[in-house]
Structure formats: C-alpha cells, structure tokens
C-alpha cells in the first residue's frame, strides 16, 4: 500500500542527497540545513507518536532542530550554481520541442488521476492507496513518474535528477522552508492564545451575531494582516483560528473548505497592496528600472480592490449554502 509516510521518506532522501552534494563542496551551512530538515522530515511520525504517548523529549529535540534551521538560514547565501551551457540547452529545446512539456504535465495529471480514482484501485483485496492524504501520496508518485519520463525524454543520466533537483533546491534556499515555518508559527500562536486574543479583539469591535459582520471582519482582517506581514500564509492561521473557526464555522455553520479557499484568496488581494511582499512588488520595480518603489502596486491595486469585493461577496453567498 502506498502511504504518505513513504513520500516523507522520499523527501528526506532527496534532502539528504542535497546535503551530501553540498558537503562535498564544503558548503557547510547548506549541508547542515538540509540534513537537519531531512531528519525532521523522516522523524516526523516518530515525534508525533511519541508526543501522543506523552513522551516529550523527541518533540523537544525537533524544536531544537527548528531553532538550528533558523540559525543556519541567514547563512544560506545563494551560491552561483553552475548550470548547463545556454547553447546546449537551446539546441536540446529545438530538438525536443513540445515533448519537454510531457513530463512536466505528468505531475499535475497523475496527481489528479490519483485524487479522483485512486480510491477505487484495489489489487488482491488490498487498496493500492492509503485513503489518508491520498492526493499528496499521488503527488509524490507523480513526481517519481515525471522524473523517470523526464530522464527518458531527455536521455539524461539518473544522477542528473539529484544534481538538477539540488540546483533548484539550493536556489530556493531558506525560502523553501518559509511556508512550513509560518504554518508552524500558526500552530504555536493557536496554542498560546494569540488566536483567542485576536478573536476577542474582533468580538469587541463587531456584532458577532451578524454573519455578514463576521464575514467582513474575517476578510478585512486577512487583508490587514497580509499587508502588515507581506504574506497571506502568515495571516491565514492567525485569522482563521481567531475569527474563522470560532465565529464563522462554529457559530454560524460556515463550510470550512470554501472559507479556507476564499480566505486565502482574500489574503492574496492584500498581497497586491503591500511593499512588504518584496519579491512580487519590489523586485520587479528594480528589474524593470521603474522610478518609484510603488509603481507595480499602483498598477495592480485596483484589480486587487475589485477582486476583494468579489471574494467577500462570494464568501458571504457560498459559505452558508454548501
């Protein structure tokens, strides 16, 4: 049976391989970073099982590991990773053409097929896919299939998979970790009562018995937090734990899937307004040699504002109906 746990082991293997390639090049911080992350990924189930059995040392060690990642990440300077020659890539691109899209499209395609039909696949009375997080197991499988297809189409050696994957992973560097860290912070915030404090702040300001007031408070809260933090991922757990869950889902019976999806999209509207989202709004100003730091925001804020209204309306009309 294919399980999500096997996907985590695969990630750990890839991260360890990346650490090893960095170690060979004496890039100690990078090697250490990826190695710690590999250990956290592979040991995750052990940590959670131990916690469930009231054994807290593994979780505390994992906490130390996270702090180690935080210490190492400012030292992860982007190295100049050698890429294959442009002319060689151009020649391959001409020769292979649209065939290059095949393996790339296999990733979403196989994932989708597993998500839709994986539950019906039974061989010898045993389910092929564990129903827990089946889509993600499908994604991991899709990546393996796509890698094999990519190697076959391009006639590259299997070692190229690790080398090229490592190149991209080191290009991302600590940015690869940020969504995970922010999500973990959301968990910490929830456990330390930050969500409750925000929720009380909102309760003090709005009539909570009005579903419309709650929708607007949640939406505008998402926008405000996203503008402040420059990232909808950071705002989502705080606002959803503070306002979305207690007021909209539990009190007014909102549909969690729609609330989550539209809540995040409302946050994205906020991303269009803020210079804090530097890689989207400030980097292009530099790249395009624009005179004013806010030129890109000025070009996009109207689209963001109109979409915000649309999203709030969609949320209000959909979450209580499905």
């Amino acid at each position: 049976m294919l399980k999500i746990e096997q996907a985590y082991w695969l990630i750990a293997l890839f991260l360890a391989g990346t650490a090893w390639l960095n170690l060979r090049e004496r890039r100690w911080s990078h090697a250490g970073f990826w190695l710690v992350l590999a250990a956290l990924t592979a040991g995750g189930k052990y940590v959670l099982d131990a916690t469930a059995a009231h054994h807290h040392l593994p979780a505390q060690l994992a906490g130390v590991g996270v702090i180690a990642l935080a210490v190492l990440s400012p030292r992860m300077q982007r190295g100049h990773l050698v890429e294959r020659d442009v002319s060689a890539r151009e020649a391959d691109a001409k020769r292979l053409g649209h065939r290059l899209f095949g393996p790339a499209v296999l990733i979403p395609l196989v994932t989708l097929v597993v998500a839709l039909f994986g539950g019906y696949l039974v061989i010898g009375g045993v389910r092929v896919f564990d129903p827990v997080r089946m889509t993600l197991t499908g994604l991991a499988l899709a990546c393996v299939i796509a890698l094999i297809a990519a190697l076959w189409v391009t006639r590259a050696k299997p070692a190229a998979g690790l080398a090229e994957g490592r190149r991209l992973l080191d290009t991302l560097g600590w940015a690869a970790l940020l969504p995970l860290t922010l999500a973990a912070l959301g968990g910490v915030f929830a456990a330390t009562g930050v969500g409750a404090a925000v929720s009380d702040l909102v309760r003090m300001m709005i009539p909570v018995n009005s579903a419309l007031a709650c929708v607007i408070a949640y939406g505008l809260g998402m926008v405000l937090f996203t503008v402040i933090m420059g990232n909808a991922f950071a705002a989502f757990p705080v606002l959803t734990a503070g306002v979305g869950l207690p007021l909209l889902i539990h009190l007014h019976g909102a549909n969690p899937a729609i609330l989550g999806s539209l809540g995040m999209l409302i946050g994205y509207c906020g991303t269009l307004f803020t210079p804090m989202a530097a890689n989207f709004n400030i980097v292009p100003v530099a790249l395009l040699e624009l005179p004013n730091q806010n030129d890109v925001i000025r070009a996009q804020w109207k689209t963001g504002a109109m979409l915000l209204v649309v999203n709030l309306a969609l949320m209000y009309f959909l979450i209580f109906r499905f």
Binding site: K94, H98, P108, L136, V194, Y268, L287, L288
Partner: protein, 245 residues
C-alpha cells in the same frame, strides 16, 4: 478575560511585524516570534520547544513540492525554459491588450498546473513580456514617452502577479491549499485538497475578467495618448532609466 496576560501573547505578532518591517531573514524572525508568544503565555522552555517541534513536523506535508524539483530540473537542463520562451515569443503580432490577456491566461493556467516558476518577473517579464508589450504599444504609430513606458512595464509586472496569485490556489499540490488543509487538520477538520482547490476557481475566473477589462482600458488609454504631431521620443534604451532605482 481582559487581563494583561490575555493580550500578552500578541507580542509574538508584534515580533513578526517588526522583523518583517526591518527586513530580517524571515525564518529566524518567525521562530523568535513563536518563542516570544510562548514565553508571554507563561510556558516553560521545554514546553515551547516541544510545541515548536510538534507544530513543525505536523506541517511537513508543505515540503512535498520539493519532490517536483528533480523532474523540473532535468527538463530545464534540456531547455524547458528556452522552449517556453521561444514558444511564447511566437505569439508576436498581437495588440497590447491581447498580448497581456494571453499572457495572463497562460500564466494562470501554468500556475494552476503547478508550473508557476516557468514564468516570473526575472524569467519572462523583464526579458520577454515587457519588450513585447512596449513594441505592441508602439503600434499606435508613435513611440512611448518615459511615463508611458514605465506605466506599460509596471502593468506587465502587475499582470504577472495577478496571473500567478489567482492561478496557484487552484493547484492541489501547492503550499496554499496544503496550508489550509494542514490548518484544519490541526483543528480536527479533515478535508481533501481537491475540495479546497475547486472553490478557488470562481475567483480565478473573476480575476481574469476584472484584469482583462482593466487591460483593455489601459491599452486604450495608451493608444489614445498618441499625439497627432509626435515629438521626437526617447529611444527604448533611455526609456526607463530616468529614475533613481
């Protein structure tokens, strides 16, 4: 309820705001914020470490996207980016509004398929979209002045952002959907990624329509600005370089 202790954990939020505002590396900022709000809530160091450790490993599904990198890397090595560039370049001969709308649609669709890093400000906007858009805008019969050129470039960057943001939430394997799923799972609500992703579709369509209309209006304004007796305009090389950054 309204004692100081109740509000104290909000200090963690303050740390995030201050750290991001001061442009520190976000990873340590976020971890410090976690420690601060733990201390403010009166937890011991051991409890905080365990809390951070448990929260972190229970979100490790957010790392799944790294498994796409080897396959994408091998394809890039064989010229995937170059092929996309050549392919998009063949869409020349379009008007400004059509060019931007086609780009918006392609960007959204690629992002929906999880291919969101195939395009971007560095990969496609600066080398490709901006020059093509400037060229298309000048089909009005007169060159763009500095202000118009900057406006066109900024609009290109905005189009890329909007295409990416409102496409990627539809892809089940990307951070956003998994973050939502992970959050609910922590709070005892189990959802399938597809359930979450599908509800991003109406917004994806609305984003396309709103921005397409704004694109048409923008292109019309640029086209309408054409002076009847065109003053000798700046050459493209001088165009955007009057500013300080």
């Amino acid at each position: 309820m309204t004692t100081l202790l109740h509000w104290l954990p909000l200090l963690g939020v303050l740390v995030v705001v201050a750290g991001f505002a001061l442009r520190f590396n976000p990873v340590p900022v976020v971890v410090v914020a976690g420690i601060v709000s733990g201390l403010a809530a009166g937890k011991s160091i051991g409890e905080i470490l365990a809390l951070i450790g448990n929260s972190f490993v229970s979100e490790r599904a957010l790392l799944l996207f790294v498994l796409t990198l080897p396959a994408i890397g091998v394809l890039e090595r064989a010229g995937l980016r170059e092929h996309v560039t050549n392919w998009i370049a063949r869409l020349r001969g379009l008007t400004l509004s059509r060019l931007l709308m086609v780009y918006l649609a392609i960007r959204q669709i690629l992002a929906m398929l999880g291919l969101y890093d195939v395009a971007g400000h560095a990969q496609t906007v600066r080398p490709l979209l901006a020059p093509m858009a400037e060229g298309a805008a000048e089909k009005r019969g007169s060159p763009l002045n500095t202000q118009e050129r900057n406006d066109v470039r900024a609009f290109c960057a905005a189009t890329d952002n909007i295409g990416r943001f409102f496409g990627e939430d539809v892809f089940i394997a990307l951070g956003a959907v998994l973050l939502i799923q992970g959050f609910y799972s922590q709070h005892g609500i189990e959802l399938e990624p597809l359930q979450i992703a599908l509800w991003a579709l109406p917004t994806a369509i609305a984003a396309f329509m709103i921005h397409a209309i704004r694109t048409v209006l923008f292109a019309r304004r640029i086209a309408g600005n054409a002076p009847s007796s065109a003053t000798p305009a700046l050459r493209p090389d001088d165009g955007g370089k009057s500013g300080s950054c």
